[in-house]
């Protein structure tokens, strides 16, 4: 049972898969990919407001499953909403989620004991062809997915949605729903 007031679930319930994620698993909200272009504007000073800064790196897919799934609206629009995933080298992400509201921590994402985070401040879009399933490095569990949705909704609205509301709204959507 997850405390509905918690921002972050236990680490052992956060991920559905890490490392080499099965390529047959459907693309889903919260998936983390490597080597995807991600930019923000401008690069530096005020001289050129359209020169981008960024490059290829880790990103998290943020579009709702209905928007990105094949057979649904994902077939109509090839653009996918993503945000960069960065390493919290200084270990300053709050343990309880109170603060740094734009960040969703991803502990042990690459190696044990490292801490990465999805940074909602820098949302951008990429073409779906940039999301190569062979380069997907993590997929969230249903609990992890709900936690990401809750954090993202709070970042955009400042409303902390009840955990069970999100669970009800997304019932049967998650790839692992009903697997147990």
């Amino acid at each position: 049972v997850i405390d509905p007031n918690l921002w972050f679930p236990p680490l052992d319930r956060l991920y559905a898969a890490r490392g080499a994620v099965d390529q047959k698993r459907v693309l889903f909200q919260g998936d983390v990919f490597d080597d995807v272009p991600c930019y923000r504007y401008p690069d530096g000073g005020k001289e050129d407001l359209v020169a981008p800064r960024g490059g290829r790196g880790k990103i998290m897919v943020l579009g709702h499953p209905c928007e990105i799934s094949s057979g649904e609206k994902g077939d109509v629009s090839p653009w996918r909403l993503v945000c960069p995933v960065a390493e919290d080298r200084a270990r300053r992400i709050p343990l309880d989620g109170e603060g740094h509201w734009y960040a969703f921590p991803l502990p042990d994402l690459v190696e044990r004991e490292d801490v990465w985070y999805a940074d909602f401040r820098f949302l951008s879009t990429v073409h779906s062809e940039n999301l190569v399933l062979a380069k997907r490095t993590a997929s969230l569990s249903e609990v992890g997915w709900i936690a990401v949705q809750r954090r993202l909704a709070h970042f955009l609205t400042r409303v902390a949605i009840h955990w069970l509301d999100l669970a009800d709204a997304g019932v049967a959507l998650h790839p692992d729903a009903g697997a147990a």
């Binding site: 405390d3 509905p4 236990p10 960065a86 080298r89 109170e98 902390a160 009840h162 709204a169 997304g170």
Partner: protein
């Protein structure tokens, strides 16, 4: 603990000297006066052997040499050695005088001499006297030409940053020292950098990485006969065992550390550091008689170190740990006494957190104040980049609150449980679970409503705003992920 080993010590201090060493140690004054290079070698040997009498003898002979030899090159070497000897003897005034002479010699020589070693000495003096900001300033002026100096600068920078509460910066610095040492095969510096990195990884909750660094440090120090840093490595490994709940392994490590202490030239605070870890083991073993006894030992050690290095950070660390032992054993009045009349202005960051924890427990009568102080301690630990320290302290605060305010204890334990679970620190989360269970059900937030249309699409209508008031952000923002300098 001790300054990083720049040179391997000459084996056990009781080891019989080789024939060459013996002849140097027994050479006549007349012979040495004709051969200043040999005399310098003799002083270095005495430094390496490192007994109090050796250091005093070397200092006396150094003064003789300085009076007899005027050549700038030899004088530079003598003054440099004089700095090291003065620091070993905790003669900070003497060290400062040598540093000033070296600086004057450097200025007069139009830059013929490398000032970096002098600035490192200055930083060591500052650090050992509890002036960590000044130590950082001194190090920032260095421009190391030699890899061993670059490694020393990195390691002292790490220690200074850690003392000021920047654990991420400290780890970055010690890792920089490690890379330099690896690149240039500097075994002593490598062991020392690894020992520091291991310690900082523990603060961050990275036990596997911490142990990996420390195991390598132990191996390297054994291979290189680098005995000075070995007790520090072993006591830190004992701390890892303690964190992971392996008390017997921790005790065995402490026995090894004791043997290592006996086999090396000693600094005045070496056994104090050993006693600190030993006291923590007694506390974790719930052996209250031993904890009280340890508290007395720590107070004695603090008095002993204070005789020669009253501003060294270990002094207040000893008092803080002694107070923690008294508190854990239930003698809160004794804990208050242990904290009184201590000069905390020279304490390092972790010691100040520990002091504030004890103060919160032993001097707070109002649960709201207790909660507020606890929150402040935890935020400071997190902002310093030491999340595991925060979780451990939250657990301690929960345990201590449990006798008086079970609801507050349950809140703190619940925080501990959730935070530890979110990072996979199972030992702490399991320990906190029983206290957290007293919290009752979570405070229910307002539910929204789900509407499903005829096509089966679900829409959540969020509840009216007001479940959570808007909150400010006191912490500095996380770095821009696109800013390579900020994230590298």
């Amino acid at each position: 603990m001790s300054p990083e080993g720049s040179a391997a010590a000459a084996g056990s201090i009781d080891e019989p000297p080789s024939a060459g060493v013996a002849s140097l140690l027994s050479a006549s004054v007349e012979h040495l006066q004709r051969e200043p290079v040999l005399w310098l070698q003799r002083l270095n040997l005495l430094l390496d052997r490192g007994r109090d009498a050796d250091i005093a003898q070397a200092q006396a002979e150094l003064r003789l040499m300085l009076g007899q030899f005027a050549g700038e090159g030899l004088r530079w070497q003598l003054l440099t050695l004089g700095c090291e000897l003065a620091l070993r003897a905790n003669d900070y005034i003497g060290a400062q005088a040598h540093i000033e002479e070296l600086t004057a010699l450097h200025d007069a020589s139009a830059g013929s001499f490398d000032l970096t070693p002098v600035l490192i000495f200055q930083a060591r003096v500052s650090w050992e006297r509890g002036s960590y900001g000044a130590a950082l300033d001194d190090l920032s002026k260095t421009n190391p030409l030699r890899p061993d100096d670059a490694c020393r600068v990195a390691n002292w920078r790490a220690r200074s940053l850690a003392a000021l509460g920047d654990i991420a910066g400290a780890l970055q610095a010690s890792e920089s020292g490690r890379r330099t040492a690896d690149q240039f095969d500097l075994q002593g510096g490598l062991a020392y950098s690894l020992a520091l990195s291991g310690q900082y990884e523990l603060y961050r909750g990275n036990m596997i990485r911490g142990r990996r660094h420390l195991d390598r440090a132990l191996h390297v120090s054994g291979e290189a006969q680098e005995l000075r840093v070995r007790p520090q490595i072993l006591t830190t490994l004992a701390e890892v065992d303690l964190i992971e709940g392996r008390l017997e392994d921790a005790r065995n490590r402490m026995s090894e550390a004791l043997h290592a202490l006996a086999a090396r030239p000693r600094r005045i605070w070496d056994s104090a550091y050993w006693s600190l870890t030993q006291a923590r083991i007694h506390r974790r073993s719930l052996d209250w008689d031993a904890a009280c006894s340890a508290a007395r030992t720590l107070a004695y050690e603090a008095g002993f170190v204070s005789t020669k290095a009253p501003r060294h950070p270990v002094v207040s660390a000893l008092h803080a740990e002694a107070a923690t032992c008294w508190m854990a054993a239930g003698y809160e009045h004794q804990a208050s006494l242990a904290l009184a009349e201590v000069d905390w202005s020279r304490s390092d960051w972790v010691t100040l957190l520990q002091r504030d924890l004890v103060l919160t427990v032993v001097s707070t009568e109002d649960p709201e104040v207790y909660a507020s102080r606890a929150d402040s301690i935890l935020q400071r630990a997190i902002q310093g980049g030491a999340p595991y320290v925060a979780v451990e302290m939250a657990f301690e605060l929960a345990v201590r609150a449990n006798r008086r305010w079970s609801w507050l204890a349950a809140d703190l334990a619940s925080w501990t449980y959730s935070a530890a679970e979110s990072r996979g620190w199972k030992r702490v989360s399991r320990a906190a679970a029983p206290i957290a269970a007293g919290r009752g059900g979570p405070v229910e937030e307002t539910r929204g409503s789900i509407v499903r249309d005829s096509r089966g699409v679900s829409t959540l209508f969020a509840p009216p705003r007001g479940q959570r008031p808007a909150r400010g952000e006191s912490a500095p923002p996380l770095p821009d992920p696109f800013d390579r300098e900020a994230t590298s």
